[in-house]
Symmetry: C2
Subunit: 196 residues, 2 copies
């Protein structure tokens, strides 16, 4: 059933969606362009997805699967100090941005474009960002307990702030085709948070 060597149409479509939605946005990509990129006929698309909105939501799921992987890979290495693990996560994400040509973050892109149109997208993406912040809050709290952050730090709030500012830096990096805003933001943040 699943042919490992040539992925099924559904996976090809999701892959094309990840690339094209990041590049051109939701309304900038027609269903036909997705079919062309994935070499799939229209019948396949509407067999696997209810409509374009359902497709985009599943593309977000696919994107988040990658984020989950990066979170697991970077945060699980307990040989590193907790703050280094957090920083490592963002370094991994930034590396992903680089290989896309600095197009920023899919969550930011779609969130910006679609939150005013359909509340479904806004809530979904807000939830994704909150989830990421939640994962990051744990090592931040470890760092607090270990005395690497001020004792009165609110790890959840700090994680939220970090994710939000990261999205802003990602947008700027997209506009300038330059990773510098990402690094500058992280440097400032970690220097500021740790300084007591």
């Amino acid at each position: 059933m699943d042919n490992e060597l040539s992925p099924a149409a559904r996976e090809r479509l999701l892959g094309a969606g990840l690339e094209l939605l990041l590049q051109r946005g939701y309304h900038g990509v027609g269903v036909q362009a997705l079919l062309d990129a994935a070499q799939a006929p229209k019948g396949s698309f509407y067999h696997h997805f209810r409509d374009k909105e359902d497709f985009a939501l599943q593309v977000i799921d696919a994107y988040m699967a990658g984020v989950h992987g990066a979170l697991d890979a970077s945060l699980s290495d307990t040989s590193l100090p907790p703050l280094d693990r957090v920083r490592r996560f963002f370094d991994m994400v930034a590396q992903g941005y680089a290989s896309d040509g600095y197009l920023g973050c899919l969550l930011g892109g779609l969130g910006q474009e679609l939150s005013g149109v359909s509340p479904v997208f806004g809530e979904r993406i807000d939830g994704c960002l909150t989830y990421i912040a939640g994962r990051l809050a744990q090592p931040l709290d470890e760092a607090r307990v270990a005395g690497q952050l001020p004792a009165d730090t609110d790890p959840q709030a700090l994680a939220m702030l970090l994710v939000n500012c990261w999205e802003g830096a990602a947008l700027r990096s997209r506009l300038s085709h330059d990773p510098a805003p990402l690094r500058a933001m992280l440097d400032f943040f970690f220097q500021a948070a740790t300084r007591e």
Copy 2:
């Protein structure tokens, strides 16, 4: 020629553009929707604007005119300490967001959506953000000289960082229909920058 009481079609169109582009994005708004909102016929639109892209660029100009005003109003009051003047600027902008229903920043929205399509937009918006940062860099430098910021602070870099993180907070505020991310970001930033 100019009728002050009922603005000319060009101004009505730009006004509708400011509102609709912020709400639904570039590809989410058709020319017809703009005509309906501005109560203008199609002939007017293509008389005043070369095409939809030219229109959007002029909407950005109109938006920046407002930003110029807010910059002038907030930064010129030299009776306030320089850092308070910067903070005041963002408070004014946040007030504008509130009256729109927390839809975030037009620059961020269009930048995110269009930078992957037409480089013209990306460069234009990047330039707008750089301009704003440049204006903010001046009071930041004043604050540095006055000893309210570390002596080795790079005001231009700090201003750029501030603007970028602000855009991220604005996106998040849009997603959650909530001004909290804006305030949290400013609080963290000013506390972090001033603490030596």
